[in-house]
Symmetry: C2
Subunit: 119 residues, 2 copies
DNA sequence: CCGTATCCCGTGCGATACTG
DNA sequence: CAGTATCGCACGGGATACGG
């Protein structure tokens, strides 16, 4: 993988390997300027089953894109937030958001789902 | 899919549905400022089998992101290029490229694979 | 509340061979 | 050269149930 450019690596492919997972970009998007709990993320992305949500969150954590904070209380409380590295992904997500919004409006469809950026 | 935000659509998800395919972003990336033939794309992305390459190209064409031009000659000659819509994706791909490059260099790895943008 | 554990099915996708 | 056709299987990922 990674473009197999001998010992060199392809930047675009590298980025995709980090945020290309099924719900990763969406999760990161929702975490911009937000600290969210597991259940809150599930409500924002209902199509992700708990198993998938856990898996994607774990991978994002392993790649140091998000922070996972466990509060030792009963009932359990776990919060997810962007790490510094995760925050650096922001320009990509914003570019995706803007393009998607343009595309939708030009096709007569309504854009929504967390309005972080006023147009 | 598409965030199931009632009749509204999620821009980020919309974008991902267009360029989230296995080799789509990579193909679009290579097509920036370039018109390429099937075989040339295969050399640039050798990990994509002919079947996958065809599939991804067809989907990109259906989504009007690329143009497919067939020259009725022997031997066959087919050229792929970015459409206007495909070209509008450029900021996203560039953001991915820059982030990937930063990430690689900060981890002591060498970035390469088509140097379109001098840093 | 925040997950993990199992089961299991569809399909994505690689390998290989063939064609106009 | 630029693809199709066929086979086959790993695995992504859904559904459901359970656990600390």
């Amino acid at each position: 993988m990674d473009c197999n450019c001998s010992e060199y690596h392809c930047p675009v492919d590298t980025t995709l390997n980090m945020i290309g997972g099924k719900y990763k970009a969406l999760i990161l998007w929702h975490l911009i300027d937000n600290t969210l709990r597991f259940g809150e993320l599930r409500k924002l992305i209902p199509q992700a089953t708990p198993k998938m949500m856990t898996q994607q969150l774990r991978e994002l954590e392993e790649d140091h894109l998000i922070n996972r904070t466990v509060y030792p209380v009963v009932p359990p409380k776990v919060e997810y937030s962007l790490s510094e590295l995760g925050n650096s992904i922001r320009p990509i997500l914003e570019a995706m958001y803007y393009w998607g919004t343009d595309y939708l409006t030009q096709n007569g469809l309504k854009a929504s789902c967390s309005m972080k950026f006023p147009l």
